[in-house]
Amino acid sequence: MSILSQHGYQTESITEDGLNKHCIEGVILSPYERPPDEMKSYARNLRRNHGKATLLFDPHFYISTIANPNERNLAKYDYYRSGLDMTSFSPNSIQEYVKGAVKFQNDIDVDLVVSPTIMVGDFNEYQAMTAIQLGQATVEHVARSRIGKPLLISLAFEENSLKNFEAVKRFLDSITLMDVEGFYITVRLADPSSYPVCDPDSLGNLMYFTHILSINKFKVVFGYTDFITVLLHACGAGASGTGWSTGLRHLPWSKFDGTGGGGGRPLPRYSSSRLLNSMTVVPDLQSIATAGCLNDVLSGSSYDSVLSPDPKPDPWPRTTSCLHHWEVLSNLVGQITQDGEIEKKISAVKKLIKQGLSTYSKLETNGIVWKQPSSDNRNLLCWQTAIDTFSKRLRT
């Protein structure tokens, strides 16, 4: 496993292409996107056509505690419950949620079972204990019912919860005792409007979190990621899900809690391995080409030829954009995970960041102004600080 398709709205054919072209190795299925019967037949087709693909199913149970959520297809799943609060997690009800979520996954023949979980806002709060109870109940249920499939404990937490390092460590003390294959982790950004920039200390602590699970020989899979997966793989993550749109590259909470607007169709974007970021094809990539710097940002993927020498949005439909994105991430992850030692992997990422920042400088010198702030270099500066935090954590 390395890069997985994060299942989104009408992304099935892109996933098929990605699997055929081997730029992804599996799929994280989403019950939000498809009703149960369609999900079953989709999973069956994937299994039939792509026998080697890894199939996971994110139960999206964390949406169950949102008041008045946008659940789309979730309510059609037997295991799912709407409008839960912290009083809804008695030992008996936890058993019930777990049993249903595992049964559905067993029915669709996933490769790894993912436990249901709730969103944790603070590792010192009751939600963290409930998340552990849901995980532990799944461990016991899977063992009791002899499912025979490896289990990933699902963890969903808010970015801010990662700020408290002492609490993070205590949480790690608890979960590293679990007898499971690994963990499936999703993080809700504190400020999605500043995506892909996040709080560097929280990111440093997430790197520590990942590293600890990895050295304890747990498989670590992240859901809803973007270029950040490069950093997480350097710390020991084994796989991550990502997709075509921004809503599949970080947890789209505003979509789930109904606060996000519909928005227009996203502009076609190009993922640059040189910048460790993506940018709009028009006008960003086009203006870079005009400035004579196209070769500085091209990723060298098998799709680059359609853009060079003159990028236009037309030949860059969402399928191409997504396949290119997966290929770029897959190559980057392959590049930095060649060496098994953490120091060398982090050093490789630092080199990529340095190269990215240098390219950003060159583009700035050539008058490039980004259409969207998310395309600028702030995420790399954030990564640099996060690496410092991570290194400090490791030393102490």
Partner: protein
């Protein structure tokens, strides 16, 4: 007045007997009293000190056993500001738990129970808890270090493997030993090591038998999390693996790196919590492969240690194989 021993756990201002103890020599029952109170004993030898109990070497049906005798009485404790007592019930429950644990964990790395089950008998006009355990012929790691100065790397790996198996057996019934130290590990004359004295074992599935402010064990072998009484219910087998790491390091080098020169408990605790252990391991007595394992065992945070006893056993077995001459 001659004091034989009172088992104490000491940290900060807490200085309290944790179990029924023998205050004075005159209170120790004579061999004759024991023989008249308990039937089936072929012969009995002079008592010896053994942790919280008085231990009488006895022969039953031709086989040697350790007969353990514990007084059952309330123990007043003066803790400065507060006085409290360790009740008869506490003592009884503690011993009962220890015996039940031994009964549940039948691995050669823990002692086996003998033919006299736990019971309360009247000896010298006072109630005593008695039970028999297998007699372990051998020498403690403490004695080995005293005599030899240090222990070879291959034998230390064997200590690690055997005690880890004992810790694993205890953890399988949700118990944490909490007092792994050189005195409590015996090398059997016939080979292999055995972990003794479950008197402080913590049952995470049951009520606490020590006061909330009491920290049990022996300070220089505490894990960092063990130094904080608030963590008591959070302890798990990884705390025992840490203590085992300290024992292994002491066996290799002949000294415990955390014991302060001034002998103060506070500075020992501070060392446990903050001292970087890596430089202590940079010594020719410790092969590189074993150093890596010890570093992991003695990491300050539980999540940085081994996630299971089996993973540690794998690592120790690999180290054992890599050492010239293999395991002893």
């Amino acid at each position: 007045m001659l004091y034989i021993f009172t088992d104490q756990c000491k940290i900060g201002r807490v200085n309290a007997p944790v179990c029924g103890g023998w205050a004075m020599l005159s209170e120790v029952p004579s061999k004759e009293s024991i023989l008249s109170a308990i039937s089936g004993i072929d012969s009995i030898s002079d008592p010896i000190q053994g942790g919280q109990k008085i231990v009488y070497p006895v022969v039953i049906r031709g086989k040697k056993y350790a007969l353990k005798v514990i007084p059952l009485k309330n123990e007043p404790v003066d803790d400065g500001d507060d006085s409290f007592s360790i009740s008869v019930d506490d003592v009884f429950l503690r011993i009962k738990r220890e015996v039940e644990t031994l009964d549940e964990c039948s691995v050669p790395q823990l002692v086996k129970l003998g033919p006299i089950p736990m019971s309360i008998v009247e000896v010298d006009d006072g109630p005593k808890i008695i039970y028999a355990e297998e007699w372990v012929n051998g020498r403690s790691i403490r004695e080995m270090i005293r005599i030899q100065g240090s222990i070879s790397a291959s034998e230390v790996v064997r200590i690690g493997i055997d005690v880890t198996k004992a810790v694993k057996a205890l953890w399988s019934v949700s118990k944490v030993h909490r007092d792994i130290k050189p005195e409590n590990i015996i090398r059997r004359n016939e080979g292999g090591f055995v972990l003794l004295d479950l008197g402080f074992a913590l049952d995470l599935d049951d009520i606490s038998l020590t006061g909330s402010n009491l920290v049990c064990g022996t300070v220089p072998y505490y894990s960092p999390e063990q130094t904080d009484p608030a963590n008591k219910r959070r302890l798990d087998f990884r705390s025992d693996l840490y203590s085992l790491g300290v024992v292994m390091l002491e066996a290799l080098t002949g000294c415990n790196p955390f014991v302060s020169r001034d002998g103060s408990i506070a500075s020992t605790v501070r060392s446990i919590q903050t001292m970087e252990i890596r430089p202590t391991l940079d010594t020719p007595e410790i092969p590189q492969s074993l150093k890596a394992v010890l570093l992991r065992m003695m990491a300050k945070e539980p999540h940085l240690r081994y996630r299971s006893c089996d993973v540690l056993l794998d690592s120790l077995n690999k180290v054992g194989k890599s050492l010239a001459g293999g395991l002893t």
